[in-house]
């Protein structure tokens, strides 16, 4: 009970802060939108190659860009915690009986929700550019859910890293190092069938790829079995991420 209420109270606080400076929500949309438009035009005819699940590249690309956005955005999730650490907010919260897990959970949920909203905006742009959703409403909701799940897991890891390293520089370095390659080691932009064997092997173990595949199948409504298994994998990934963040939080408490 305490956990749920505390999470909601904190979620409200994080959300208000985001809504008050909405510029960040839009800034982080800019680059995915640019990718969507540029790649969508530039590689329009790539779907003529065999191996794509659809015959419209924008259709193929939209879920890829949505997941990319989820990843990029969630990867920075730890920044909020770092800010709270420097501002003394974390200490101020820790002297209350607040559920410790709620501190992590509220951050993770907040990122997941922000990503869901942003993903909707990307989807709308994708639709304008010609993408369709054969998967229907259920397909769209599932796609958003998949993106949010990945975002949750990544945000948890990012928060964990923030608590362990307590340095912005480290977080920036890690995000810059991992984020873009993780996208390219997935089927966000190119059909799995067209990947070199070694990339395909890595992609199979890449949560970003699970999310891209899950989101795409959901949007297409073509393979719900695959959607379910990718969803399960992502769920497990999110749980692991949260466990990591919880441990990191313990470590942080011990080190101060």
């Amino acid at each position: 009970m305490g956990f749920v209420m505390d999470t909601l109270y904190l979620l409200k606080r994080h959300t208000l802060a985001t809504v008050r400076i909405p510029i960040w929500v839009f800034m982080s949309l800019v680059s995915p939108l640019v990718w969507l438009v540029l790649y969508g035009q530039l590689f329009k005819r790539i779907v003529e190659l065999p191996g794509f699940e659809t015959n419209s590249y924008i259709q193929f690309l939209t879920p890829g860009v949505i997941v990319m956005l989820a990843l990029f955005n969630a990867a920075w999730g730890g920044m909020g915690t770092l800010q709270d650490l420097t501002d003394g907010v974390i200490d101020r919260l820790l002297v209350t009986p607040v559920s410790r897990a709620a501190l992590i959970a509220s951050r993770v949920l907040h990122t997941a929700l922000t990503v869901a909203v942003q993903a909707t905006i990307i989807l709308l742009v994708g639709l304008v550019m010609g993408a369709r959703v054969p998967g229907g409403v259920l397909g769209v909701l599932t796609m958003l859910g998949v993106a949010a799940l990945l975002a949750g897991g990544i945000a948890a890891i990012s928060n964990g890293l923030a608590l362990i390293t307590r340095r912005e520089e480290t977080l920036i370095a890690v995000v810059n190092f991992f984020a873009t390659p993780l996208v390219f080691l997935s089927s966000a932009f190119i059909a799995t069938a067209l990947m070199p064997g070694w990339i395909r092997a890595i992609a199979r173990a890449n949560p970003v790829n699970w999310a891209v595949q899950g989101a795409r199948y959901a949007m297409l409504g073509s393979d719900w079995g695959a959607v379910a298994s990718y969803g399960l994998l992502l769920g497990a990934f999110a749980v692991l991420g949260v466990l990591f963040a919880t441990q990191a939080f313990r470590a942080y408490r011990r080190s101060t």
């Binding site: 109270y9 606080r13 501002d87 200490d91 002297v95 009986p97």
Partner: protein, 331 residues
Amino acid sequence: MDAIVAEHLRKTYRNGVRAVEDVTFRVAPGEIFGLLGPNGAGKSTTVRILATLTQPDGGTARVAGHDVRRDPAGVRRKLGYVAQVSGVDKHATGRENLTLQAHLHRVPRRQVRERVERVLAWVGLTDAADRMVRTYSGGMQRRLDIALALVHEPEVLFLDEPTTGLDPETRAALWDDLVRLKRERGLAVLLTTHYLDEADRLCDRLAIVDRGRVVVEGTPAELKAGVRGDRVTLEVEQRPAEAAAVLQSLDRVLEVVPNGREVIARVLHGATAIPQLVTVLERAGITVQSVALQRPSLDDVYLFHTGHRMITDDLAPDGLGSGEERRSWAS
């Protein structure tokens, strides 16, 4: 029952810094207890241990009857904590800050509004309640910090340098408020400070902490009485070093330190000794321009026990209290 009991607390940080070596004290309900000490003495660490923010390596501590290690949740329900560095959320309003804190402190939902209003009025922030905290002045932020620590009506209040950076008027107002709080609610207050006047005026009892240890404890009056002699400051026209040597030879002069054009002496029965001091100096050919007499202040107590002057400016920890420095009056 004591509101705060700290017994032989010890804490070494992960980086090897022995922040607290042996700290023991008790604070009764309705008492304001001060921790005084130079930078790096371990005051904040002690407070953080009591506020369950950090774990001690040794010793025990109880706050409002709850053991900080075995029952931190119990401690948290009873305590209010104002950190040395502000913990306000700058991108929220004052009211939002307080409402969140009240909820997290498990104030019954129906009472939250009223408590928030009351505490806002109490710290004089009602008019600014709906402004973003980042637009607050330093003093307003500090008052919000204090409001955050009080919104759930704690039994024990920890204040880590609550008045640093406040203007004299705001400081005085806060002092009055603290006295009111302890009188009206029987709140126990643990306060760290660098201001000796603050400690003198506010604290019922205090402990001077140096390098992780309590070096002396008592009421301000007791501590002052413990310093023998009065402080006599003589301004001389020339040769202060020589003047110091001359004075040192007198029996009732306990200690002398030249300080620029002045000579500061700690003298038994200072008032009656002044004529004698002036005469010896004149005889040695040194003209005295002014004489000032001071009963021992907390400043002297502090100096006597830690060997350094109470200054808020940064003192490099390694430069503190070397052997020679310990008993000298200079800084």
